[in-house]
Amino acid sequence: MTTPLLSVSGLRASYGPVQVLFDVDFQVAKGSVTTLIGANGAGKTTIMKSLAGLVAPTDGEIRFEGRDITQVPSHDRVNSGLCLIPEGRLVFPGMSVEQNLRLGAIAPAARAGHNQMLAEVFDRFPRLRERRSQLAGLMSGGEQQMLALGRGLMARPHLILMDEPTLGLAPVMVKQVFETIVELRDAGFTILLAEQNAKVALELADRAYLLENGRVALSGPGAELLASPDVRRAYLGM
């Protein structure tokens, strides 16, 4: 078996006295879409932030491309190819679309050839090219999600962490986001997706982990979890 691109073991995290992650283990294989599903407060965002280095875990180990990155500062993680598209998108509102995208390539590893990368992002999201001089804060939620994703791609990530990319989007945009995820996987990107929209996430995921109260309650191929009676009852309303 090949070593996974990302491997998390025994991850624990707390906010003050409140522990929110309890010995979380999971792996992400190269070229796959892996999804973390679970209710609000299950710990999805905390896991994503721990991976990006925005939350310091109290225990456990994060290995990325064979290297222990648990103590590595967040900007060095981006530089080594681990890129978070944060929940709520967090575009730079007072900057233009193009400035946002260029900032995505601020990591030293992404600087060379960032103009070409910009062209690639514009090709993937023509809407961003049309609006390149528009202020990011004035765009719709769906456009901002596209921008956040494009900004992430500018860093040339080996692994894209997407935290709730469909949160607060109109149904037509939700569909488009999921289509984009499939396109990115087909283009060779590896994606870890935290998602409340369990049904769609499970349908497209190669592998899925169900989180409950900060623990992995169930894991397996996406299709398997989709068929599980427990998942169907609790998360799919069937």
Binding site: G53, L54, H75, V78, P86, L90, P93, I106
Partner: protein, 300 residues
């Protein structure tokens, strides 16, 4: 339009060069003052305009520079004393930077103010424990020499602010101002960049403090760390506009000249007019003189 800050800086240097030819000591004093405020406001903008971390304590760097300079003058040439003042301010910023920059928004504003006041009182205590109630300096350089040094610092600060804004470093600082968490997710080394900006904004004020000391030839802690210095820097930068390099120049120029006019004609109205100006600008001209001129330029 992009280079107008530089153009103004050079123009100021030329004006200053012309002044001694026909100028009186009074005129040289005015140029000294204007250049001093440009240097201070421009340095302040390296941190506060770029990152949005508004420092209300920049007098502390000015004071540290003045204090180090007064301790050293007489023992070494004044040029080296000024350099030592700048280095001391930078070292001080490097030491206090990390804890201070952990807080944001109004907390940062209050903390920088408090820090400046703390240092002021500590220095006052040290001086009174030493039995010193102000130190006189003898043998100071001529006004013309001091003016030249100050103009040099103003130009240097302007070039520095320009270079920062147009660099990758400046792009990272702008990302921090827009959204610090997002900046971190795109790979901006947030803590490091904030610290660098903090140090960069302290260096020139350290030297300015030393020069101002030589000009008055008298050191007194309450005066060297006077919080009004901090307030004035912020006021000038806001009135000038924080979005461009020319902003702090316009603000410092406008304010320093206005204060000269008011001092001579309507001294009792001086502070009232300055206060009103600040209120009017905050309410009606949020982008400052720079934004105002930019708009007029486009309309015309």
């Amino acid at each position: 339009m992009k280079n107008i800050g530089l153009i103004l800086g050079v123009a100021l240097a030329v004006v200053a060069a012309a002044v001694p030819a026909f100028g009186t000591p009074y005129m040289m004093g005015v140029v000294f003052q204007v250049a001093m405020w440009i240097a201070l406001a421009q340095s302040w903008s390296m941190l506060s305009a770029t990152t949005g971390y508004l420092s209300l304590g920049h007098a502390v760097f000015y004071g540290v520079g003045a204090y180090v300079c007064v301790l050293l003058t007489g023992t070494i040439p004044f040029e080296w004393a000024l350099l030592a003042g700048a280095v001391a301010a930078a070292v001080f910023a490097a030491i206090v930077g990390l804890p201070v920059l952990r807080v944001r928004g109004p907390y940062f504003v209050i903390l920088t103010y408090g820090l400046s006041e703390l240092v002021r009182h500590v220095v006052m205590r040290i001086e009174s424990a030493l039995g010193s109630f102000g130190r006189m300096i003898f043998d100071v350089p001529r006004t013309e020499v001091l003016m030249w040094w100050m103009v040099g610092l103003a130009v240097l600060a302007t070039l520095g602010a320009y270079a920062i804004r147009h660099s990758r470093f400046g792009a990272g600082l702008a990302a921090i101002r827009e959204d610090e968490v997002a900046a971190e997710t795109v790979g901006v080394p947030v803590t490091r960049l904030k610290l660098f900006a903090f140090i960069a904004s302290a260096i020139i004020p350290g030297a300015v403090g030393g020069l101002a000391l030589l000009r008055t030839s008298y050191f007194e802690p309450a005066q060297a760390f006077d919080p009004v210095i901090s307030f004035t820097i912020v006021t000038m930068a806001l009135v000038g506009g924080t979005e461009t390099v020319r902003g702090p120049i316009l603000g410092a120029l406008g304010f320093a000249l206005l204060s000269e006019l008011l001092w001579s004609s309507l001294p009792q109205l001086y502070m009232i007019v300055l206060g009103l100006t600040l209120i009017i600008f905050i309410l009606f001209v949020p982008r400052g003189l720079s934004g105002l001129f930019g708009r007029l330029g486009r309309a015309g």
